[in-house]
């Protein structure tokens, strides 16, 4: 176990000199590269430490259940505070002001819902993946297959978006070629998960969350310092520097019609409750009480982070947007509005702080893709292999072996997809991932925990209805049908399908369960009462 990690890190370190010469001198960021190396070595050390502690399936999937509520809260927050939110949300505030806040609120409000409805019952009913809870009283083969489809589609979409984003970001920040960036991210994420499982990904996530929160706090503090801690001056300076003036302090064009608004809101709120890599983290704590605490801490950290982003975004408007160093010949910010926070870090803290923030942005990408890969690999090894293929009786050690193979396969797939989608617009993929999570994973999980009359057939058919309708609506909608495929008019008129796909899913699940005439229906309904008690009280076996 020791040798592979050292081999890997020496391979990467030896690759770097060639990358250094590949990038031109003025695009290469030396402080950033050195901090990136420090971070990578640190995370590989964590992986080594985690590898020694990973022996059983429980260790690999759920860190042996030994993570505390506070640690898990930080890890979950870390999973959620991706580079897309750090750079994307601050970039949105930079470009459109108040509209960025609308988005961040949407991302946050799902957390209380998870706490009230999902977190504790999920922990009480499952062991490693959310499919454990869904298939608790239902038939394993169809339900696990459905959950695995739901998980893998969400994971792959999210991974492609992250890989392409990572490649582009690293290209700009460190001066490495795109292909090299994708390869480095891919190899590192495969190492973290294969060798260190959930223990490694959790601790990498915690370290990155602390770095990101500290960096963002310093950035926000520096912005407030510039305006003598007066919010009045902050907004006035932003309005004075922005092309739209004081209009940025009010809602803009982001939400143009009520249907899209509600649809997007539903996807953000309930999609969060269906993201497989987030749901997996609830199994890393010892009991429901710690699961509950995790959400409180996670919500606190993420909420605080969004408040910082709001200050950072507005600060960037006048500290970056009005500073010709960061604008190109047409007066547009260099690298696009996603670079607002990065340029701001240099504006307030020089090259050293720029290096730190760049390394942190890279860290966030690595941590998030690792969590996603673990969630995807678990769906393959725990849901498909161990439960369906081996009928819940996998041979000793074979489950972990399959997890590791699945991780490598997923990692390679992510790298190949990242390379193929290099110049495609992948922004819609995260939105689609959330819509699928809200239309497949959330309905089956929620109804299986709360609705007595849910049957296997209902969940199976309804879940696939949700999946197919979400994908179909996006393909025939304005984002793909018009912007990418070039047709004049979209078949499905709205950018956000969740309102329709979620309704389709819930209605189908209901109808197919009620009109289910299969023999196992009554057994499944009768089994609800015991499941319900266990969801509140916890597993008696576990307590012993």
């Amino acid at each position: 176990m020791r040798k592979p990690s050292f081999w890997l890190s020496s391979v990467i370190v030896s690759m770097l000199p060639s990358a250094v010469f590949a990038g031109s001198a003025d695009t290469l960021n030396i402080p950033a590269v050195s901090m990136f190396l420090v971070f990578v070595s640190g995370t590989l050390a964590i992986t080594l430490w985690a590898a020694r502690r990973t022996r059983t399936a429980s260790d690999f999937y759920a860190a042996g259940g030994k993570i505390t509520g506070f640690q898990n809260g930080l890890a979950i927050a870390g999973d959620y505070m991706s580079a897309a939110s750090f750079l994307g949300l601050s970039g949105l505030v930079f470009a459109s002001g108040f509209d960025g806040i609308i988005y961040s609120i949407g991302f946050l409000v799902g957390w209380p819902i998870i706490l009230f409805l999902i977190a504790e019952r999920l922990r009480n009913l499952g062991r490693f993946t959310f499919a454990d809870a869904v298939s608790f009283r239902l038939q394993a083969t169809p339900i696990r297959s459905l959950s695995a489809c739901g998980t893998l589609t969400v994971v792959l979409l999210y991974l492609i978006a992250q890989m392409v984003g990572a490649g582009k970001l690293i290209e700009v920040l460190f001066g490495f070629p795109y292909e090299f960036a994708v390869a480095v991210v891919g190899i590192l994420m495969i190492s973290y998960v294969t060798f260190g499982g959930m223990i490694a990904t959790t601790w990498v996530q915690i370290v990155k969350a602390i770095l990101l929160l500290s960096g963002a706090s310093f950035l926000a503090f520096a912005v407030l310092w510039e305006v003598d801690f007066s919010f009045e001056r902050l907004f006035q300076s932003a309005a004075d520097s922005h092309a739209s003036g004081s209009l940025i302090l009010a809602p803009g064009q982001l939400i143009s019609d009520p249907i899209s608004a509600i649809s997007l809101g539903l996807a953000l709120m309930f999609g969060t409750a269906g993201l497989p890599h987030i749901l997996m983290r609830f199994f890393t704590v010892p009991d429901a009480k710690e699961a509950r605490k995790s959400v409180v801490f996670a919500t606190g950290f993420v909420g605080y982070f969004y408040l910082l982003l709001f200050i950072i975004g507005f600060g960037a408007i006048f500290l970056v947007g009005a500073n010709s160093n960061y604008l190109d010949a047409d007066g547009i910010i260099i690298g696009g509005s996603n670079m607002a926070a990065i340029h701001l870090s240099q504006a307030v803290g020089g090259d050293l702080f720029l290096g730190f923030i760049s390394a942190v942005a890279f860290a966030t990408i690595l941590a998030v893709v690792s969590g996603l890969t673990l969630a995807g690999a678990s769906a393959i090894s725990h849901d498909l292999y161990a439960s369906v293929f081996c009928k819940e009786q996998p041979k000793d050690g074979s489950e972990i072996r399959v997890s590791r193979i699945a991780t490598i396969a997923l990692g390679l797939a992510a790298m190949i997809l990242g390379l193929s989608f290099e110049n495609q617009n992948v922004a819609y993929m995260v939105g689609l991932a959330f819509a699928i999570a809200a239309s497949v994973n959330f309905p089956i999980l929620f109804l299986s925990m709360y609705w007595k009359n849910l049957t296997t057939r209902g969940a199976f058919i309804g879940g696939f209805v949700g999946l197919i309708s979400a994908v179909a609506c996006v393909i025939t909608g304005p984002t793909i049908w018009v912007s990418i495929l070039g047709h004049a008019e979209p078949i499905f008129p709205y950018k956000h399908p969740a309102l329709f796909s979620m309704s389709a899913a819930f209605i189908s699940i209901y109808l197919f369960s009620i009109y289910d005439r299969s023999p196992q229906k009554s057994t499944e309904i009768k089994a609800f009462d015991n499941q319900f008690v266990q969801s509140i009280v916890g597993s008696i076996e576990e307590k012993k």
Partner: protein
């Protein structure tokens, strides 16, 4: 046997009352979140200019900003409210029920 245990618990009247109280509490809080967030979204969709009104004649800060910040803080605080109630009341009631049933 675990099956018999769960059945025993579910028949207990105190347990049933606890479930009713907890469920009501969870759904009330869920309702608060849904109502606040969707009101905000619908105002933005139908009357966005309400949020564009400055909070005072001497200020450039619009109503949208404190409303947005309050929603963020509400989300954080409401999770704390739920956990405090569970820790102080519901957990105790549950462990009492379980120990009295001798399981």
């Amino acid at each position: 046997m675990a099956q018999g245990t769960y059945e025993k618990i579910s028949l207990d009247l105190n347990f049933q009352k606890l479930v009713r109280d907890r469920t009501a509490f969870s759904w009330i809080l869920t309702g608060v979140m849904l109502l606040s967030y969707y009101t905000f979204i619908l105002v933005i969709a139908f009357s966005p200019h309400w949020l564009g009104v400055p909070i005072s004649t001497r200020s450039i800060i619009t109503w949208g900003i404190p409303v947005g910040i309050l929603l963020i803080i509400l989300s954080m605080v409401i999770t704390g409210v739920y956990v405090l109630r569970c820790n102080r009341e519901y957990d105790e009631r549950l462990s009492e029920i379980i120990s009295r049933l001798n399981v």
